[in-house]
């Protein structure tokens, strides 16, 4: 008897690999609370990569650097989203609490959320911002300022 079994060659089967990323939503808390933040995403990226190299050496930097990117950085709400590859995630997340200096600003990171897709991260940030608005809307008097605040807080553009 002859049974024909068709199995695709191994190389073909392994072609469909999904690149796994992790998106880390962080809040930047400056040392002095009233400080305005001038933070560009490349400064943030440079700072994090430098710290990875400081704590994990060249190996850690090699693992993390591929696919590392600051996707979103809002100066007003002080929220940033960092993308890194799945296998380098723990190198990044474990070292975020140790950072006390971003660029030339004394600040610390506060991890808000770690998600696997940017959509989930977005959802969380929107929820977080709404909570923030609930607390601060009461303190603003005029309706125009209120609208202004709403606009500032809820602006999200992820096209980087």
């Amino acid at each position: 008897m002859y049974i024909s079994v068709s199995i695709a060659p191994r190389s073909l089967r392994c072609n469909m690999v999904r690149i796994k990323n992790r998106y880390i939503a962080v809040q930047i808390v400056p040392y002095a609370t009233k400080q305005t933040l001038h933070l560009k995403d490349h400064i943030l990226a440079k700072c994090i990569l430098q710290n990875v190299e400081k704590h994990y050496g060249v190996y850690g930097l090699g693992v993390v650097e591929q696919g590392f990117r600051v996707k979103y950085c809002n100066e007003r709400t002080k929220i940033a989203v960092i993308r890194c590859v799945h296998r380098g995630q723990r190198f990044v997340s474990s070292m975020l609490p140790l950072i006390t200096l971003i660029g030339d600003l004394r600040a610390k990171f506060r991890t808000l959320y770690i998600g696997a897709t940017i959509i989930q991260c977005n959802k969380f940030i929107i929820k977080h911002q709404k909570q923030f608005l609930d607390r601060f809307m009461g303190q603003v008097e005029s309706a125009k300022e209120r609208q202004d605040l709403f606009k500032r807080v809820m602006e999200l553009d992820m096209d980087r």
Partner: protein, 299 residues
């Protein structure tokens, strides 16, 4: 059972400056901690050993005004850290009256002998280490396992590790030693922060546990479940054997099998707790706790 909510930070050093203390507590609320312990350090070795029978330990600082201020946001416990050199303080501890006013007792051994004593016979809950003096003291495997079996917990402080890279190396060395000697069982992480800038959120702490050689689960438990276990254990030590009266205000429902399963789970949570509780109702309204032991008086 007394309720506590996650997340926990069991080492917030006491600060005389009320403003600074408030700033730290506010930051803790902001970060999402619900149960904290204010730490008070006491050096036993400096006291002269001549005085016997008299009170050796200091009374807790009064923090009633802070408790009142943060009543609905934070549950504030009090903790004492005893620095000691030799083993003869166990007598002083057993007769001390002030010691029972503290919720948690931590030991900070200074010598190898004291460390072994701390692991095997010390009547406290937490074993901690001086982060500044370096890690000359490393726990050995035997003592570590005894301590784990007794339900003691080892503490790692992260604030010194953030502030200074030399301390960071020492803390990592200490923490990795736990990982080598006994798979990092019974480890909690607390802040020990003098300034609110050194505080980190609970998820950050759980992530930081990676460099201390803990797994993801252990890292999360280190700020959550293990601290609850310590709290239960400390309460049971404070109260001794207790009789509990449980009063319900609903119709009496005889528990079926599913309820029994639940109570068993609770027992698991209280692993290592020596209290004998007669019954633990779901709908308890009032619990009267009467110390049955003569020597234990709790206010």
């Amino acid at each position: 059972m007394e309720q506590t909510k996650p997340f926990y930070d069991f080492c917030v050093p006491f600060n005389k400056d009320d403003k600074q203390m408030r700033a730290i507590l506010n930051e803790l609320v902001e970060l999402g901690y619900k149960t904290i312990a204010i730490d008070q350090s006491f050096d036993h070795s400096k006291k002269d050993a001549g005085k016997r029978g008299s009170e050796m330990f200091p009374a807790p600082h009064s923090i009633e005004h802070l408790r009142k201020e943060f009543a609905d946001k934070l549950k504030i416990l009090q903790r004492i850290t005893i620095l000691y050199v030799d083993a003869n303080l166990s007598h002083a501890m057993s007769v001390s009256y002030n010691l029972r006013k503290f919720n948690l007792i931590a030991g900070q051994p200074k010598t190898d002998g004291a460390l072994t004593h701390c692991c095997t016979t010390f009547a406290g809950d937490i074993i901690t280490f001086d982060p500044v003096a370096g890690s000359r003291l490393l726990v050995n495997r035997k003592a570590y396992q005894v301590a784990v079996r007794r339900g003691m917990f080892f503490e790692i402080k992260y604030a010194p590790a953030i502030a200074d890279s030399n301390n960071r190396k020492d803390m990592i060395k200490l923490a990795q030693n736990y990982s080598i000697k006994g798979k990092s069982k019974n480890i909690i992480i607390s802040s020990g922060a003098e300034h609110e800038f050194q505080l980190r959120g609970p998820y950050d702490v759980a992530n930081l546990a990676f460099i201390f050689g803990l797994s993801e689960d252990q890292g999360k438990n280190a700020v959550d479940r293990f601290c609850r276990q310590i709290f239960l254990r400390a309460e049971s030590r404070r109260l001794g054997k207790t009789i509990m009266f449980v009063k319900g205000n609903g119709p009496i429902v005889f528990s079926d099998s599913s309820d029994e399963n639940q109570s068993e789970e609770e027992d698991d949570e209280m692993d290592g707790v020596v209290t004998e509780m007669s019954k633990d109702g779901e709908d308890e309204q009032e619990t009267d706790i009467k110390p049955a032991n003569k020597r234990l008086k709790v206010e």
